[in-house]
Symmetry: C2
Subunit: 342 residues, 2 copies
């Protein structure tokens, strides 16, 4: 993106990305408490060049805020369920304010007894999971996060949607450097990337999607009307089902099928739950130095030319922190056409 | 198997499979306390027609028992680490006696505070994970189990082994029927299945393995000398790395690389750790009926012709419980050539 012709792109500082995002969200009716963390993760997505989670998502956030079931002034309610479990009711606002409200209790429990679960209920969810994972690895915790979405994804051997894109993210703190973090959809590709392919008029790769009749397609529009496929065949499909169950029925929240019903055709961001699990290596591993062992593994992967996940993201972050970001002019103009507060 | 010509196979009752397994293990020097759970899971593997985890594994178990670092009379030591964490030191015996020793405490913690972790350390491991998962779903718990293995598997984009076959298993209890359970290697195929292909002279599928020079191969022997690949490309590779970290350094135990060093060329079953996580849906989900929601998901998968994992296993189990099992005559003769106690 940095190499793009300046006539086709617009340069923005990270503070401008944040203020622009927040002004649009506030003008759409979002409370200050809801808007701030949402603007922050959009900025982080743009900073790390995760384009489908950056400013590209802002118009979709406005659409979500306009959903008749969205609560623009939701105030998360944290429930101290057990010594290991924290639940937070997002009140049908965004997931992020709920995550932040529950974070201190969640971290304290993991550090106190070695493992803790945070269940976020009744949230609208559009964000990548790695910003939350990084807030946990920054505390020295190992963390997993999972959510369902909408039932856009067919199970292996099937012909129509039953599963969500169901992302799973994982983080492992590394001393003195960026954590090992991955965050991927269990669909063959993220839903946002299908939309980007459609916008760019680019064909999908074979194996990513089926059309409304259940036949393989490489047409992004046909895929959006049909169903996506999971990554990794029947194993990816099983993993996606696990995520549905853990981040849905286990925590008394909606599956992707139920969330699609709840949306009622608005095509807003999915409303559902999220589960996070945090582990304290100091308690589970005791006094043994786990870093020597994990660093040997990371070296064995890197030294043979394989890339660790998130490296591209960290490289983009370093660039953006130094030079700011550039976004396509048509996206900038789309955003500037939205109402803004202030 | 049941349709096989009787001249090529040998019929055995499940009690015979168990007694034969146990007699071979005892003759190999294993204590009664170690041999009983191992014989039981071999019988369960054979019963469910998971051939690579049935009697086929018995000669490998004997080889493992003969490893100079194996402890034939290991007595597991359970440590009550925190309200959420149980650790059990298997003392370099098999994993199964350690799992059974820690099970009551592990279950009690999960039911008391909603989530619990069991870390099994210093175990030799050869068994499928679903027998343990089923012991947890039978208690009404949702469960995940993971282990590393030996570094037979190349990371995505790599040319040589750094990861294990790293299985992940998951279980979800279903009222009045068999649980939803999957148990799969994050390698493209299980190591045992590569061995079965070699024995049968069958080629591997493309994408399963590379040879010692890092080139793709469909030859099972070349794959055993080279490296296997993960399922699902870079996503499967990331997931496999997560399993290394959670079931290895997090619980202060060996990665697959370290376990391979520890084996010192003996080619016994891998020695390492295992992590299990159990969740109580009654605490995490409260009073809401999670079964209606999960059953709707299972129906949405099944009704479009996609299979739920483990169905084949449950069908085989029903057959075996009614009629016993049949094993290839050459396997029967191989086992009968081993020393047996009693």
């Amino acid at each position: 993106m940095n190499q793009a012709h300046s006539g086709d792109t617009v340069a923005l500082g990270l503070d401008q990305v944040f203020e622009l995002s927040k002004a649009v969200l506030i003008a759409a009716g979002l409370s200050e408490a809801q808007a701030t963390p949402v603007a922050r993760v959009i900025t982080e997505g743009q900073r790390d060049e995760c384009h489908s989670h950056g400013l590209f998502r802002l118009p979709g956030c406005v659409q979500t805020i306009n959903h008749p079931r969205f609560n623009r002034a939701a105030a998360p309610v944290v429930e101290n369920t057990t010594a290991a479990v924290t639940k937070v009711d997002a009140g049908f606002g965004f997931s992020l304010p709920a995550f932040e409200a529950a974070l201190p209790t969640f971290v304290e429990k993991a550090k106190s007894i070695g493992v803790a679960v945070l269940a976020i209920n009744h949230c609208f969810h559009f964000s990548a999971l790695w910003p939350e994972i990084e807030m946990l690895t920054a505390q020295g915790l190992v963390a997993i996060a999972m959510t369902p979405s909408h039932s856009w994804v067919a199970p292996a051997g099937g012909t129509k949607g039953a599963l969500g894109t169901n992302p799973i993210a994982f983080g492992w703190p590394r001393e003195g450097q960026n954590p090992y973090v991955f965050d991927f959809a269990t669909s063959a590709i993220a839903r946002g990337d299908i939309s980007l392919h459609k916008m760019a008029g680019k064909p999908l790769q074979p194996g990513w999607a089926i059309d409304a009749d259940g036949n393989p397609t490489t047409d992004a529009a046909a895929a959006l009307d049909g169903a996506m496929l999971t990554f990794g065949g029947h194993k990816g499909s099983a993993l996606s089902t696990m995520i549905e169950l853990l981040a849905g029925p286990l925590i008394a929240d909606m599956t992707s099928l139920e969330s699609m019903d709840f949306d009622d055709g608005v095509k807003a961001a999915p409303a559902h739950g999220e589960i996070l699990i945090a582990f304290d290596p100091k308690i589970l591993g005791g006094t043994r130095d786990n870093q020597a062992s994990s660093e040997r593994l990371f070296s064995a992967i890197s030294d043979q030319g394989a890339r660790l996940p998130s490296l591209r993201r960290y490289e983009a972050r370093a660039r953006s922190l130094a030079y700011g970001v550039r976004i396509p002019r048509h996206l900038y103009e789309q955003i500037m056409s939205l109402p803004r507060a202030g």
